[in-house]
């Protein structure tokens, strides 16, 4: 009897073990291959729009691919998982965010950060962790040798500025310019680059020392002095989407009749809500996908983006490129590049594909050699917009080589 009980116990234990093993084994067979992509950027405060658009664009593209079973790399489909962190435009938070993405989440490809200070702060972390990041900061040293892990995700102010100023000189008769910038590293650098470009083109620079502190809400006292200089053009260097409409409104209320422009991306809804008719004629670098130039794939993306974000944002036309080019480059480089960015970098050198977001048959590739001595910039189209009747209207479309 004792022996029978013992046998029964062993038999039952054995059944339980086999059942458990089956569940675990079949579980591992059903496990999806997941490709994690990080998004690190400013998602709160006056510049929240910049980081949030990065996040929503990545989530939109990921959703569209995941609905088709994932993105194919090396014959295997990967589900795209977006891990987003808000760095609040604070370098300390950007560093801790980057550490979390690379070391805890094991991510090697990060979209962001959004400004010079946060992008430079994460540089050592990204390089030490073997990660490639796609900032929207303009500091040239990020993208120039010996550094090679950063890829600029948009058109830089020093690329757009000279083209915009030249256009305004030729088409609108602008002869003089004043600058005003937020008192932070990124906008001040953009201002300095803009002043250099303006002087090179032969514009009279009436003033360039005027600044305002982050958090300023009343721009009347600040811009009174700029307006009184009587320039044909006032450039709002590095202006955040929340500050631009207040500056425009104050300038117009002070009687300024000239042109106002910036080389950063703006939000038309905020411009309309806060500045109203004062935004009319405002020139900015727009999203790289206006209705006139976008492809059916881009239309599909825009519809899905509106569902995720609640509304379209013109900047999304530029920021849609980041995740797309990461995935396509990984496909070219092979699945080993998912965890080895050196293979990714090799693939970047000769990468080229038809731009999926443009109607016209134009290539999408990495550019920027003329500025950084290496191709460390996504070749997004350069679209310059003007606000007309409460909407962005394309002034002209260009490109950077």
């Amino acid at each position: 009897m004792k022996i029978n009980q013992c046998h029964r116990r062993w038999f039952l234990n054995g059944i339980v073990l086999v059942a458990l093993g089956s569940v675990l084994f079949s579980g591992s067979l059903l496990a999806e291959d997941v490709l994690k992509i990080g998004v690190l950027g400013v998602m709160s405060g006056p510049a929240a729009s910049w980081g949030l658009v990065n996040k929503y664009c990545a989530q939109t593209s990921a959703q569209l691919y995941n609905e088709q079973g994932g993105f194919e790399i090396g014959g295997k489909k990967y589900k795209i998982d977006i891990v987003a962190i808000d760095d609040k435009n604070d370098p300390k938070l950007a560093v801790s965010g980057c550490e979390r993405l690379t070391r805890q989440e094991g991510i090697h490809y990060i979209i962001g950060p959004n400004v010079d200070t946060t992008a430079t702060s994460v540089q050592p972390v990204a390089e030490a962790s073997g990660a490639i990041y796609f900032p929207y900061a303009f500091q040239k040293s990020l993208y120039s040798p010996p550094h090679g892990n950063a890829v600029l995700g948009m058109i830089a102010s020093y690329q757009a500025g000279p083209i915009i100023y030249k256009y305004l000189m030729e088409k609108r008769g602008v002869k003089s310019v004043s600058f005003i910038a937020r008192n932070e590293s990124d906008p001040l650098n953009q201002r300095d680059e803009g002043v250099q470009a303006a002087k090179k083109l032969g514009l009279t620079v009436k003033s360039f020392n005027d600044t305002y502190e982050p958090g300023t809400t009343d721009f009347f006292p600040v811009i009174s002095r700029v307006v009184s200089n009587g320039a044909d053009l006032i450039v709002l260097s590095g202006v955040a989407p929340a500050d631009a409409p207040l500056l425009l409104k104050s300038a117009r209320e002070l009687g300024f009749q000239g042109i106002l422009s910036t080389e950063t991306a703006q939000d038309i809804k905020i411009l309309n809500e806060v500045a109203g008719s004062a935004a009319e004629g405002f020139i900015s670098v727009g999203g790289a996908s206006t209705p006139e130039i976008r492809s059916p794939e881009m239309e599909k993306f825009a519809e899905r983006y509106k569902k995720i974000a609640g509304e379209w944002n013109d900047e999304a036309g530029t920021k849609v490129y980041a995740l797309e080019i990461i995935l396509q480059t990984l496909r070219t480089a092979g699945p080993e590049a998912i965890n080895n960015v050196e293979l990714f970098k090799k693939a970047m050198d000769n990468f080229s594909m038809k731009n999926p977001f443009l109607k016209e048959d134009k290539p999408l590739k990495y550019v920027g050699t003329a500025y950084f001595s290496q191709a460390r910039q996504i070749g997004v189209p350069m679209v310059v917009n003007e606000v007309k009747g409460g909407k962005f209207q394309t002034l002209f479309v260009g490109s950077v080589e």
């Binding site: 709160s44 405060g45 006056p46 929240a48 809400t217 006292p221 989407p241 409409p245 109203g276």
Partner: protein
């Protein structure tokens, strides 16, 4: 220079409304309301939704601001600060609680309202030219309404029963209690009034500057500067502090780079407080 002086006047009146609310709360409760800027911000959002989105009459939306912020202020005093006063042995605990309420409101606002800058259609449009200076009609309206509210508050505090009770409470809580005043009720109403004033300032300035959920801290800091200059808990002092700060900003921005203006304001404040820590109109401590 005309524009600079006009900017100073406009700023001074706007800031006076912000400062009055925080000084009122300090006078009756001896607590610096760190959430003052956040209450300002919520007032702005109430106007955004009621006037901007639901198209209520602007003045009706200001009434809504008073109601919402009054309830928030009353709840904070009744459920948080009154309990803290009874339990805590150190004054710093109330200050920490005040900081906590500021963080609570800011994060709630971020969750409910989002992070984007919001604006509303102008209540009035047009720009007046006074000599060589420009004064937008919107700013003039804000200035007039702010002046009416400031005068109304001063009259209320001076001539009404509740106003006298508030002044008595500010002078001596125990004696006020002994005089038969329901101290808890008056304190709660006083806090509600201070919160409503902060919200009204937000609702008024919202039409000029727009609002976003991150502006609270900036306005709280400016409110602290004003009451430090004028004297904490002194209503005329708050107005004086607002005038000083308004003109300092206007003149500073006109003559100096933006970054230097506030650097000098803070350095000046530190030096001033070394010689007169109670502010211009405050009484020496102790």
């Amino acid at each position: 220079m005309q524009q600079v002086l006009l900017n100073g006047v406009v700023l001074a009146v706007n800031y006076a409304l912000i400062a009055l609310g925080i000084t009122l709360i300090f006078s009756i409760m001896n607590i610096l309301n760190f959430a003052h800027g956040q209450m300002f911000m919520i007032g702005g959002f109430v106007v955004y939704y009621s006037y901007g989105l639901f198209r209520l009459n602007y003045f009706a939306s200001l009434v809504a601001v008073v109601a919402v912020l009054g309830v928030i202020g009353w709840c904070f005093e009744t459920f948080f600060f009154r309990r803290m006063r009874k339990m805590a042995t150190r004054e710093e605990n109330a200050m920490l609680l005040a900081v906590g309420t500021a963080l609570l409101l800011e994060n709630l606002a971020l969750s409910f309202f989002g992070e984007k800058q919001r604006g509303v259609p102008p209540v009035v449009s047009g720009v007046f030219k006074i000599g060589d200076a420009f004064l937008p009609a919107g700013r003039l309206l804000v200035m007039v309404l702010a002046l009416i509210l400031i005068v109304g508050l001063l009259l209320f505090v001076q001539y009404t029963k509740l106003g006298r009770a508030l002044r008595a409470l500010a002078q001596d809580r125990e004696v006020t209690y002994l005089m038969g005043v329901n101290v808890d009720r008056v304190a709660a109403l006083g806090f509600a009034l201070g919160a409503a004033l902060a919200g009204l300032a937000g609702g008024l300035l919202m039409t000029v500057f727009g609002i976003n959920s991150g502006v609270g801290t900036v306005y709280s800091i400016k409110a602290f500067i004003m009451i430090m200059i004028g004297g904490a808990g002194i209503v005329p002092g708050a107005i004086l502090g607002a005038v000083v700060l308004g003109f300092a900003e206007a003149i500073g921005y006109a003559l100096l780079p933006g970054s230097v203006t506030y650097l000098l304001i803070f350095v000046g404040l530190i030096v001033f407080l070394l010689f007169r820590p109670q502010g211009l109109m405050g009484k020496p401590w102790g």
